[in-house]
Symmetry: D2
Subunit: 472 residues, 4 copies
């Protein structure tokens, strides 16, 4: 499934440091741990004690964008940093975050994970008032909303100590969607998370300063101690005095994106107190209980489905085997095989291990099915390698509704589960049997009572604005 989802979804990772020496280096290692959340572009903005901002950003992996030379141009003890998944919005380098804005009242930098659902409305509103944009990113919108806040008659009064706090709260009340935003000024780091709690953001402590990160694995990597998650609707201001917290909205839910548990996050991260690997393994156990099968071996589709496959194996007693291998050196500089070579049998990314699957009844565990083409290909690989039966078990419900909190380009037509019944899909991917995890199992795997399951259920926690019509 991995590939399908990669093509339609945009996830990003944000990372911030306040008041810790070597903020740029720490950001580099932090971004590295978040690399799985975005492999298309990366950037770091630092600010030093004199209020001087410095920035390095570029397209490519963290190790491609940064080198000893350009990293050494970043100085100061505060920084924000970003990895981006896809080229959504286009525009190349202009859309690479963090953004840096110059203003006679003080420069500031900004980066963001998530997706706004009313960005078209906001853009129109701002352009009508004279704004012009150099990118197509939601992040630039927020900067304009913040700077134009005084022209709006809302009730967010200026805080003399944190002059951006009022404008930021005003701006956040105008936007709708999923986000984790970081704003860096020479004096403070502003950290905010949407009021629905759709995107993860965690806070840690390190050497007397603070660190924020989309996932806890980055805190662990740099040796920071986890403090707590940033709360839905919270605006956290970190400055020399410490932490200051307030809310931008009274609304408050924990509709964490279920796909973070299912696919996006790194297995060693904890999201809202639940370890991702543990969640996935539990989902595999529940999956077996819901849809058992007689088979010789359990095989997971690497890498995101391995935990669920282990859970299925342990619950069922069917041995877990490494029947599929992922070639891990594939990156953006990899030369894709031509159609001609692919047809002649050149297989990259995934291969089935003949010696292991030959003559076996296989349970193949995957985290999800989006378009179905990948599943079909893997079933075929397993059969060609000699599997006598292939039973597919998916550790999440059918993905049948577009997500507007990641990338808004997905349509119902692209989602195979909105087009076919499970039986039809089973036939299409060529499996002997096919079962999905139930919605109930999704919640139970993490003992959660709230989740965003919009892509499975069609229940969107927010208004959808101009996406609304796409629903029909």
């Amino acid at each position: 499934m991995t590939n399908d989802l990669q093509e339609i979804h945009e996830e990003c990772g944000v990372f911030g440091v306040f008041g810790v020496a070597n903020a740029a280096s720490l950001s580099y290692y932090g971004l590295h741990a978040l690399q799985h959340r975005g492999q298309e572009a990366a950037g770091i903005v630092c600010v030093d004690e004199n209020g001087q901002f410095s920035r390095v950003k570029g397209e490519g992996l963290v190790t491609e964008v940064f080198n000893v030379k350009n990293l050494s141009t970043l100085s100061g003890s505060s920084a924000i940093a970003h990895v981006r998944y896809a080229t959504a919005g286009g525009g190349g380098l202009d859309n690479v975050q963090p953004f840096l804005f110059h203003h006679h009242k003080g420069n500031f930098a900004l980066c963001h994970n998530g997706n706004l659902v009313n960005s078209n409305e906001i853009k129109y509103y701002l352009e009508e008032r004279g704004s012009i944009f150099q990118s197509t990113s939601d992040t630039e919108l927020l900067a304009h909303l913040v700077r134009s806040s005084r022209m709006r008659g809302d009730n967010f009064h200026d805080d003399p100590v944190h002059p951006l706090l009022g404008p930021i709260r005003s701006a956040l009340n105008m936007i709708e969607g999923a986000f984790a935003f970081l704003v860096l000024t020479p004096d403070a780091l502003y950290v905010m998370r949407d009021k629905y709690g759709l995107r993860p953001l965690s806070l840690g402590k390190l050497n007397g300063g603070y660190v924020v990160s989309s996932e806890t694995c980055a805190l662990e990597t740099i040796g920071a101690d986890f403090i707590r998650d940033v709360e839905p609707g919270e605006v956290l201001v970190i400055d020399a005095e410490g932490l200051h917290s307030c809310k931008y909205s009274a609304f408050n839910h924990h509709y964490m994106c279920a796909m973070e548990y299912v696919y996006f996050a790194r297995p060693d991260s904890d999201i809202e107190g639940i370890n991702v690997h543990a969640y996935r393994k539990q989902s595999g156990r529940i999956l077996y209980k819901e849809s058992p099968v007689e088979a010789d071996i359990v095989v997971g589709v690497p890498d995101s489905s391995l935990s669920a496959a282990m859970g299925y194996s342990e619950e069922s007693g069917i041995p877990y085997e490494m029947g599929l291998i992922k070639n891990k050196y594939i990156g953006r500089t990899f030369i894709q095989p031509t159609q001609d070579l692919r047809e002649k049998g050149v297989r990259m990314k995934l291969s089935a291990v003949r010696t292991i699957v030959k003559g076996k009844k296989v349970v193949m565990i995957d985290d999800s099915i989006v378009r179905g083409t990948t599943s079909r290909r893997i079933v075929k690989l397993l059969r060609e390698a000699g599997a006598t039966e292939v039973h597919v078990r998916i550790a999440s419900p059918p993905y049948a509704h577009p997500c507007y909190y990641g990338v808004d380009t997905a349509t119902y037509e692209e989602l195979i589960s909105s087009q076919l019944s499970v039986e039809e899909l089973c036939m299409k991917i060529g499996a002997d049997s096919l079962h999905f995890l139930s919605h109930k199992g999704l919640y139970e795997s993490g003992n959660r009572c709230e989740l965003c399951t919009a892509c499975f259920s069609g229940n969107y926690p927010t208004s959808l604005y101009d996406n609304e019509c796409k629903k029909c």
Copy 2:
């Protein structure tokens, strides 16, 4: 002198194409011909028949920024392009032009050669009205002024066919300084030159379309036919219907920057009808008449002073010799010699030819003296190579006043001619005699009655705004 001036001055080159196939390739060759005007960064924006903009920009020479791959991503028959001299404004890539702006009423791109004198005032005006800036470039200011024009109550009415014409004329009336601006929309190329005529801009015709360029050498390079210069204060709109011309101001002079003739422009360019090489050669002839000397050979400082040196040689009958050699492969990737190596005699850029100057009385011709350090170094080089006398003749008057139409960082302290008399300067650079071209000679070299000679005379054609106080 070359090096001195390089350090304090910022010149740029602009190039535009409308309605000619392969606009991107033509821009590449055009920028190449303008490379001497800016070696720090380059960029091209194209727009195709569907209104899609594409852009490539980067730091470095034209041959470093563009390659077959990225050039092939630029499609369409219209383009604007830019080479930039120095990193004035800092900010690296963010300041590299052309800029590209997204707007629901239509995207547009913009680039610019010159310098505004009231940019601080304009920036403050715009930020107070909600604008925020991602660069420190004058070009971004113009974009904001254009987009905010409706909020100003001026008398520039909308032109339904060229919707940007009114806003552009409104914006141009708010800025003061030297400029040649290009604005590209999907339908038209807007071309404008400041009302003082400080910066050159020429118009040509090619294969049924139009080309504009800071210098005519770029027209020649791509095989375009020169039509005429863009007039001071003119706003030229080029669209599918052809050329449309109007003025943004009734003020109208031809205060062409004298340094364009003396130093900036390529010798094969014609500026306002006068060939640059011919101008320089004539200035050398006048220089001899004004300050003759008995000597064995005439030596010009390469490359910009060679024409003047030839004129001096022909008028005087003293043979012109290649007594100084410039190493032409020096670029930004060149590793500068350490102080230690320089002291041990490693000489890059310029060397004197011992066999030629040994035992000779030398007239050394240079185009100008800014800080005096380069002249002193060259005189020393010539003496070390055995010259018995070194008489320095400068093909322009003493450079004694800062220029605010290039880079505004120059101060009186940096300009040696504002500190020392000609006699003192002669002693400082170690010459046997020193003479400068007269102001009269400057005008006569080109048979001109108007020129901007602010850097020589202190007579600035514009108000200076916040630079005013620096004059005292």
Copy 3:
């Protein structure tokens, strides 16, 4: 252990194609599948139907060395290719294989996996006869031995059809050690494996031509059908007529390097008929039987120990958990943390998952211990993450003797198991208990009666020449 072994061992991968269209592209994908065997350098040499050789080689990963442009310069239907582990021999690019030799009797290319034990003797012999060397590689030695064969009075007569066959057999009889050699001429691909069978080499069939590879995973990747392993002591000539096989020596054993099963090879490869993952899983099962322990979870050190850990888990019934995470994006362009940052807690490559190991008794499975420093670090990581007990089980016997068939720089001093008893080592790495797989278990895991276990037992299958004295 991974890191320890990486530092002292040199493994390489060889790949060859004869008579298949797109030999260069196939080699690219083949090398990709062998990337785990060598990440420091890569090269491909092709020969076309006109006998023209072309080559691309460089330092770095396969995806770094090759691009569409340079790959397109390689044409022909035959190729040999190489990935190299470390910079053994130094000399940078000069040592990157394949080598290409020009000779008036015909050019030829050569590459090699393994290590000769009598290379110093051979080098002296050749230099005394006028040879000079541009690299420090064993591969260049073989080329000189082949070309000088006529000067030796041995009994290898010229084969008129395969003119290099006699010289190659003569040359192979002079060298001693572990090797898999490929020699490419315009007409034939010569494939040879040492008479001890120390290094793997497999033969496959594809589209009417042949493919050879250090591991079968590369055959699978390009869709080739496995035929058989190349035999110890075999010289295989592949030409337009098909396969021709002979032996260069009557000696014939299958002392396959045990570490290929334990650590080097990819789990989906089959070596001499035994799947590597299956071998490792079986070794984990035997390891449990030999040294059971009461614990809450089994954790494998990624990536090479995961199969053994699963075997241990299945045999013991103790759940297998993902308690250690390896950051997979680390490559050569990665900026290593400074000592200062490492001390402050920045952890790259491996991290322990606190939520999983906290409060647990952990069985940590690793494939081997070389210097002990990595094991000690991992035990510490687990304890810091809250493990209450850490029991270390190693899926191979103590590594106590230098290997001269990989890199000959290892010394007894570097091998912790030659210095300390198991009890002392247990204390040194800070484990609660430590057990190694028995020698018997090593053979049983693969049902093999022959293996090279020199690094465990000190029983070297070959003479050691000048390495002999190092034994004492």
Copy 4:
């Protein structure tokens, strides 16, 4: 002519340092000054006080091959360095000099400017004795000849202090052609020039050590004092004791390549006591005396013909004008215009200055004509720019015979002057008149009694071996 000659000729530049701190940096600046002799590849080998060799080499300009990082890996006070013109011999990086050889009796490095005429014979001789070659360069031949010298029964006895001196003298006696060779060992720098004196090589002194260079301009650049030229047939050994000189042959002439004066060398270099600019200027004066013309302006083809044009102008009194401009930023990364664009008028490299040549009778001075295509193009450029007459004067005799001392691929067919009479050629290039400098003028320009004028006269100073038959 410039382009024509570039395509058929291979010149290189060598540079060496012995006993001066920062040998690598000095070599970098030295190569830089020799960059005009070879723009395709560059390399430096250093040796330090411990006998450790280090090397950096690559394809491209000096500024492209070297950077601060790789230059810092080169340590020691002795070095040899090389710039190479073309990819003669092919094979890419393998042919980039200097070469570095490993030998148990001592490593050594070697580089070379020139071309051997009996390389095929030598190669066969060596291969028959067991040598194999990794490049197609003459330089590798010399290394093998040196190392195999003991097997030859010649009378060059071993010098115990300079063990390579005997073998080098033996080797030099076997080769025939044009060369300047440098051999670097940990203890000494061996410097040798062919006995005909075909290629230049000069010796200088710097900070107690020595420097050698193909041209004196590199000595000047690094601040070294010129001592003398290396003599034809001389073998100079530079070691800690100072200079040791001997001859490898009793033959001794000064057949310096005339094209060094006419085209190759930098105008500020002195070759065998004659300044190149002065030579060229004098050739221009003689050219006028031999073939005067009535005209309005003299125009030289940049860059190599400017000195001759000035001489012609001074002798004739016809003003010298900058009627042709060369775009100096063109390098290997430049994207050549497509045929389509060239036909539409895109002109790179050279353009004519319309304002200067329009309505004028032009004398166009070029240094030579090889194929005639460039001359024809320039005449056309001048006419299109409005020249009423174009009289071509060439500052050397007709180039009618292949040179075997540069690149041996040139054939009579390629040389237009071996095919057409001067009158026919005049018509072909479209000039109003055409005259060449006489053979006598060639010698007189430098007051020389010996020169190699083989390309003009067909009198080759050496035997031609297998090139012999090409003469007919």
